[in-house]
Symmetry: C2
Subunit: 131 residues, 2 copies
DNA sequence: CGACTTGTTCGAGTAACAATAGAACAATAG
DNA sequence: CTATTGTTCTATTGTTACTCGAACAAGTCG
């Protein structure tokens, strides 16, 4: 896994780090259970503070993509298969958006709003007879 | 067209305003060529500064959704059809994301990264056993 | 023309946040 | 036990974002 971080970009460092790792997980380039580098070591390698790396890791943990354990480090969550359809849906959407010359910011805003107004997965998954 | 903004939310006011107007346009609840309220008047009605409203308008203008003209006001851009496929793609993606229990923040990050499929560089990360 | 409307630009102040740093702590591995 | 690794706490620094006031410029309309 190769991660690129650019301090000159407006995007926060911890977010760049999280995005890079997230992509490798969603794309299936790392398998569940695989161990990520220790925060202190990675921080040194990237030339950033340990807290910055840990913040990125914590972000991914909150998203359910990795697990953090003291003494054991950061581990890619198992039971993460089937993201292929997700990656495909994302690709389709981006294609459609660029077809309409819709800027990234507008696309994100629309997705965000759709996410909030959509029913939760749990609700869709059946909760007994509807009438 | 009813617009509601909440100063207590972490989302910037101008962004809340832009999102509200954007939705009404994408959903087709306002027709192309239709005129939006003048910034000063809308600002007074919402209890915010004129700049806040104008910044929201400017955001939509940069997205190509409206046009701004001095003396004439803000007008919904014509030639905005064909967003149906876009709305569909968004819906599909959100469904898929919720099926995987993927949080909104993670979804937005993935879409964002997919949109600009040309990252920049500096820094390396290796996976596998941490020696 | 001339008064009015409307968006634009300049400048500024406050708040929020990112990033860094040091230290001590708790759980896990070997 | 010893070393590793994430967690928590406090603190500082620099930068950015948001909101706002006032003056300006371009257009509209009688």
């Amino acid at each position: 896994m190769r991660i690129r971080i650019d301090p000159t970009l407006p995007t926060p460092l911890f977010e760049q780090l999280a995005s890079a790792v997230r992509s490798t997980i969603i794309d299936g380039r790392v398998i569940g259970g695989e161990r990520l580098p220790a925060a202190r070591r990675l921080a040194e390698g990237l030339g950033v503070n340990v807290h910055t790396v840990l913040r990125g890791y914590r972000l991914l943990r909150d998203e359910g993509l990795i697990e953090l354990h003291r003494g054991r480090g950061a581990v890619v969550a198992t039971r993460l298969g089937g993201h292929a359809a997700l990656a495909g849906a994302i690709h389709d959407l981006v294609d459609e958006a660029k077809l309409h010359d819709l800027p990234e910011s507008a696309l994100l805003a629309l997705v965000s709003e759709a996410y909030r107004s959509a029913p939760s997965a749990a609700g869709v998954l059946r909760t007994g007879p509807t009438r």
